[in-house]
Symmetry: C2
Subunit: 178 residues, 2 copies
């Protein structure tokens, strides 16, 4: 049976397909519930998807968590970007002594609503002044630990090597081939 | 026909009932969609409610909007309180030159999904160090313009006089008696 990756994002689909070839893209207009726990958001989407269609499903969330804000914005990152942008997020972090942050990707997988599995990848780093023009979202302000450049200053290949999404994806792949 | 106020909050229900006597409280477990626009959240709830039950419905949202964050947190306030609390919100605002904020209440009213009306009340003020023990939520850090105390330092009667919820409510009442 096909595994459906629920996403409207072509780039993410290509990344997943490259690692797990049996995956098919599906766009479902599922409501995103208001929650700060990424797993709860993913779970709600998977449960909705299972109501609509028979099959196996994958949902992904990648969010940015600032230490100084006790983990905010997390899955609320898109509203932060919409309201204050990368420059605003950088400025906000400057009001604190600690600019450390983590980027976390979580994949949720389900073939029925009672068995939902999560796979995650985490990269530590810090919030810096916006730099670079590659990537998207908050790539301009996230500088991974051990690097002197932001995600937006890296080539795709280089980014993939340290990507939190790749870590999570490999973990999902291991589960699926067992 | 009865007008149903969809809320689990007894205090809010009492406040609305006092101004609009024909209102009845109803608890519906409606999902809160992830949105930063309070009207979109209210609208989604009203449309869901109309699917469940015949009648007229009221949904209310009261949120805090910081100038320095271009309006954040808005309806995301509950996640800010959960993550960093009033002290954290105060500290965050201290990273900026401008601590001005507004408290906005919006009531949405609908008898069918094509005709949704909104009524709002806004109070300007600023974010201050947490003070007082009355009220709830972010009352401790919101000091209304022209006052030297926070909402949490005011008696209910005094707060009602300047309440953004009362302004919105009066406007809804005017609409209903026309």
């Amino acid at each position: 049976m096909a595994i459906y990756f629920i996403t409207g994002n072509k780039g993410k689909y290509a990344e997943v397909k490259a690692v797990i070839p049996q995956v098919k893209q599906i766009k479902l207009d599922l409501p995103e519930i208001q929650e700060i726990d990424a797993k709860a958001i993913i779970k709600a989407k998977l449960i909705e998807a299972l109501k609509h269609k028979k099959g196996e499903f994958i949902v992904e969330d990648t969010s940015l968590y600032l230490d100084c804000l006790n983990g905010l914005p997390g899955p609320l990152i898109k509203w932060f970007l919409q309201s204050i942008g990368n420059q605003g997020l950088y400025q906000l972090s400057q009001g604190y002594k600690n600019q450390k942050a983590q980027a976390m990707s979580i994949f949720g997988y389900a073939r029925n609503s009672k068995q939902i599995k999560f796979f995650q990848g985490v990269i530590r780093g810090k919030i810096v002044k916006p730099k670079g023009s590659k990537g998207f979202g908050w790539d301009q302000i996230f500088q991974p630990q051990g690097f002197k450049k932001t995600f937006a200053q890296m080539e795709q290949v280089e980014k993939n090597h340290i990507s939190m999404r790749r870590i999570a994806l490999n973990s999902l792949k291991q589960y699926l081939i067992k």
